[in-house]
C-alpha cells in the first residue's frame, strides 16, 4: 500500500477527526459531575488493550422531518465492542453522555442491537453501561422502535447469556425497561437515576414535589423498589465490583461457572460454627457469620444487599466452584418471609438455575409475615413465586436447617419433597407445623382457659412441645430430612453432597413454559 496515497491519507484523516471529537473539555464536564466518560468506563472495565470497538465511524440517521438539530458525530453517542474481562470474552456497550446527551437515535439503537446479537451468537456475557437522556426526539418513532428491538434482544438472550446493566447517569422513560429486563442492575450513588416519569411530570400531573434523588436515586432503588441490586459510592468501585461479580458467572447457559482455586485457609471442619446460633430461640444472630465460615475465604458476594434484608442472597465459592446462597436472616424482621423477600429469592433462584449454579439454602424462618397489609398486597401469590422457583430449579439444591423451620415457610424453603436434593439439620433445628406458643394456644385452648394459673401451664406445655415436637429428630426419624449434623462439619457435608450431585440430571417435561404466578 502506498502510505502517501489518497486512500491511506483519508484513513488517517478520519482517525484524526475522531480524536478531535473527544475533547478534554467534555471529559472535564463529566468529571465535574463526578462521572467518568464512556471511554474511561470501558477502559476500566476491560483488561488493558483488549477492547475492540466496532461501528466507530457510523453517523446519525438523516432526519425524516427537519426539527431540532442533530450533531453529525462519529459513533452516534454509543461505544460498542468486545474485549477481555479477567481474561474472558465479554461484550459491552456504553452510552456517551457527551454526545447529544447520550440520546438513543436510530443508529445508536442499531449499534446496541448488533452487539447484543453478537453476544448471543458467541455465548458471552453482555454489559450495558447506561448514561442517556432517553429517546432522541429528532428521530421520532424510529428511536422508539429502536428501544423495542433492544428489549426484544434482551428477552431473547435471557437465560442464555448473563446480561448486566450498569446505570451511571440518567435512565428515564422507556429506557428503564432495558435494565429491568437484564439479570442484574448496578447503580452509582448520587449520579444515577431511574424513573418512568421524571420529577417535572410528577409535579405537573400529581402536584407532588419530589427530587431526582428521592424519586429514582440509587438508594431508593436498592432499598425500596428492589430495581437496583448493587450500588456503590463511585464509578471506579462500581466497575471493580462488576468485574468481581463477573468472575462468578459462566459465559452462557451451557458452560459451568469458572473455577477459582481457593487459598486453602478455610477448614472443612470448623468448630466455631457451633457457637453462632444462640440457645435462646428469641435471640437473633447474623446468618452471614454462618455463610462466611462455610464458603471459601472472602468469596461471598451478596446481591441485593439492601432490599428485603430479611432474606440474604448472594454468590460464593465452595472449593473453587460457584454456588448460589439463599439464607433467612434472623437479625432482620426475625427472618420472616414477606412479599419483598419472596420475590427477591425467587428471582435469584431462577438466575442460578438458568446458569448452572447450585443452590445452597440456610434456613431459619419463623414463617410468613402475618397481617392485613401483607395479605392484601398478595403475599399468597408472591410467596408462591418462591415456591415455584425452588421446585422448578433443576440444579443441585441443598438445605441446611439452622433453627426455625415452621409451617408453610418450611415447605417453601426447599424442603425435600419440594425437590430439594439434600436436607441437613443442625441439632438446634425446630421443625414443626407452628411455633410452640401458637401450637399450645390451639391444642390446649380449653385447658388453658380453665386453668387457675394459665401462664404457668402454658410455660410447661411450651417446654414439653419444644422437647417432644419442635426438634429435628422426629423429621429425621421419619425421613423428611436426610441427617442431623454437627454444625462443625457443615462444609464437609455440603462438599460431599455437591460431589454426589455433580452429575445430577433431571428430565424436564416437554412444554413451552410453566405458568409461574407472576
Amino acid at each position: 500500500m502506498d502510505l502517501s496515497g489518497k486512500s491511506y491519507k483519508a484513513y488517517l484523516e478520519r482517525r484524526e477527526a475522531l480524536k478531535k471529537q473527544y475533547s478534554p473539555k467534555q471529559a472535564e464536564k463529566q468529571h465535574k459531575k463526578g462521572k467518568l466518560t464512556a471511554h474511561e468506563r470501558i477502559n476500566r472495565l476491560f483488561d488493558p488493550g483488549t477492547f475492540e470497538e466496532i461501528d466507530t465511524f457510523v453517523t446519525p440517521a438523516d432526519q425524516p422531518v427537519e426539527f431540532g438539530k442533530v450533531e453529525r458525530t462519529f459513533g452516534d453517542g454509543v461505544i460498542v465492542g468486545h474485549g477481555k474481562v479477567n481474561g474472558r470474552l465479554v461484550f459491552a456497550y456504553a452510552q456517551d453522555f457527551t454526545i447529544m446527551g447520550g440520546s438513543l437515535g436510530v443508529v445508536h439503537s442499531r449499534k446496541i442491537a448488533k452487539i447484543q446479537e453478537m453476544a448471543l451468537k458467541m455465548g458471552s456475557p453482555i454489559i450495558g453501561i447506561m448514561d442517556s437522556g432517553g429517546a432522541r426526539i429528532q428521530d421520532g418513532v424510529a428511536s422508539l422502535s429502536g428501544y423495542a428491538s433492544i428489549f426484544h434482544n434482551i428477552i431473547q438472550s435471557s437465560g442464555i447469556i448473563p446480561q448486566i446493566s450498569v446505570i451511571m447517569g440518567p435512565a428515564a422513560g422507556g429506557a428503564v425497561y432495558s435494565p429491568a429486563l437484564t439479570d442484574f442492575v448496578f447503580m452509582v450513588n448520587h449520579t444515577s437515576y431511574m424513573f418512568v416519569t421524571g420529577p417535572n411530570v410528577v409535579r405537573e400531573v400529581l402536584n407532588e414535589d419530589v427530587t431526582f434523588e428521592d424519586l429514582g436515586g440509587a438508594e431508593i432503588h436498592a432499598i425500596k423498589s428492589g430495581v437496583a441490586h448493587m450500588i456503590y459510592d463511585d464509578e471506579e468501585n462500581t466497575i471493580l465490583a462488576l468485574k468481581k461479580f463477573l468472575s462468578y458467572l459462566p459465559s452462557n447457559n451451557v458452560e459451568n461457572p469458572p473455577f477459582v482455586p481457593e487459598d486453602g485457609t478455610v477448614q472443612d471442619v470448623c468448630e466455631k460454627l457451633r457457637d453462632i446460633v444462640p440457645d435462646d430461640p428469641n435471640k437473633a444472630y447474623d446468618v452471614k457469620d454462618v455463610i462466611q465460615l462455610v464458603v471459601d475465604r472472602n468469596s461471598f458476594f451478596e446481591t441485593a444487599e439492601l432490599f428485603a434484608p430479611n432474606l440474604v442472597t448472594g454468590l460464593a465459592r465452595l472449593k473453587g466452584r460457584t454456588i448460589g446462597i439463599v439464607a433467612n436472616q434472623p437479625k432482620v424482621l426475625a427472618g420472616v418471609l414477606d412479599i419483598d423477600s419472596s420475590t427477591k429469592g425467587a428471582r435469584f433462584i431462577r438466575f442460578c438455575d438458568a446458569f448452572n449454579i447450585p443452590i445452597l439454602t440456610f434456613e431459619d424462618v419463623p414463617g410468613f409475615l402475618p397481617g392485613a397489609e401483607q395479605e392484601h398486597r398478595g403475599i399468597i401469590r408472591h410467596g408462591a413465586k418462591l415456591l415455584f422457583a425452588y421446585s422448578e430449579a433443576t440444579v443441585p439444591k441443598i438445605t441446611i436447617i439452622l433453627r426455625k423451620a415452621y409451617g408453610g415457610a418450611f415447605i417453601v424453603m426447599n424442603s425435600k419433597n419440594l425437590g430439594g436434593d439434600f436436607s441437613f439439620a443442625w441439632p438446634t433445628a425446630e421443625i414443626a407445623v407452628m411455633g410452640p406458643e401458637g401450637a399450645v394456644a390451639i391444642l390446649y385452648r380449653k385447658e388453658l382457659a380453665e386453668s387457675k394459673n394459665p401462664a404457668e401451664l402454658k410455660k410447661e406445655l411450651v417446654k414439653k412441645y419444644r422437647d417432644k415436637i419442635a426438634n429435628p429428630f422426629i423429621a429425621d426419624e421419619l425421613g423428611y430430612i436426610d441427617e442431623v449434623i454437627d454444625p462443625a462439619v457443615t462444609r464437609k457435608k455440603i462438599l460431599s453432597a455437591l460431589n454426589a450431585l455433580s452429575n445430577k440430571w433431571v428430565k424436564v417435561p416437554n412444554r413451552k413454559h410453566g405458568n409461574m404466578p407472576l
Binding site: A284, V336, G435, E437
Partner: protein, 175 residues
C-alpha cells in the same frame, strides 16, 4: 484514550471523615505525626492476623468488607472506613458540595412489636449501622440500626411499650 491505571497512593477515609494516605504496595513504615514507625502486618494459624510493633502483637480482624468499605476490629476497637483512589476522593468532594443541608432521619418501627430496650440517649453522636433500640417482633429480638451518621435528636421509644408498624422510634439529625 489510553488511561492506564497506575495508582501508587490510596486513601483511607474513616467514618468520622479523617483522611489517611498510604502507598501501594504497602510498606512497613507508617508515619504518625513527624516520626516514621516500622510495623509489620502478619498472619499465621496460631494468632490469626496481627500487627507486629516493637515485638508485640496487636490482633486485627476484618469484620466486614464490601468492595471499598471495611469494618475492622483492632485491639477490640472497631473502625469503619473506606479506601479511596485519587479520583474517587475528588468525586466525593464534588458530591459533597452538591448535597443540601444535613437532613433529619426518623427511624420507624419496621413491624409491630414490643420495645425491649433503648440503647442510646438524646444528644449522643451515632454512626450508621450502630444499634438504636431492641424491638421484639415475631418472637424475636431485632436490633434496629441507625441509617445515618449523626446526632440523636429525640427518642420517642420507651422500653416495655408496644409499637405499631411505622411508629417513629428515634429522630436523628444527620451529618
Amino acid at each position: 484514550m489510553n488511561d492506564k491505571l497506575h495508582i501508587s497512593r490510596l486513601f483511607a477515609l474513616s467514618s468520622d471523615n479523617r483522611k489517611y494516605s498510604f502507598s501501594v504496595p504497602l510498606k512497613n513504615k507508617i508515619r504518625i505525626g513527624k516520626r516514621d514507625y516500622t510495623v509489620q502486618l502478619k498472619s499465621d494459624d496460631k494468632y490469626g492476623t496481627y500487627i507486629l510493633w516493637k515485638n508485640r502483637r496487636y490482633p486485627l480482624e476484618v469484620v466486614r468488607s464490601r468492595q471499598n468499605k471495611y469494618e475492622i476490629l483492632f485491639n477490640d476497637i472497631s473502625y469503619i472506613f473506606t479506601v479511596e483512589t485519587p479520583f474517587s476522593l475528588q468525586r466525593m468532594k464534588v458530591i459533597n458540595t452538591r448535597k443540601g443541608k444535613p437532613g433529619l432521619a426518623s427511624v420507624k418501627a419496621p413491624m409491630p412489636g414490643k420495645l425491649l430496650d433503648v440503647l442510646v440517649r438524646e444528644g449522643a453522636p451515632i454512626l450508621r449501622g450502630e444499634p438504636l433500640v431492641i424491638l421484639e417482633a415475631m418472637k424475636m429480638q431485632n436490633e434496629i440500626q441507625s441509617p445515618v451518621n449523626g446526632t440523636i435528636l429525640k427518642i420517642h421509644a420507651r422500653p416495655n411499650t408496644n409499637v405499631m408498624k411505622d411508629d417513629v422510634l428515634v429522630e436523628i439529625k444527620a451529618d
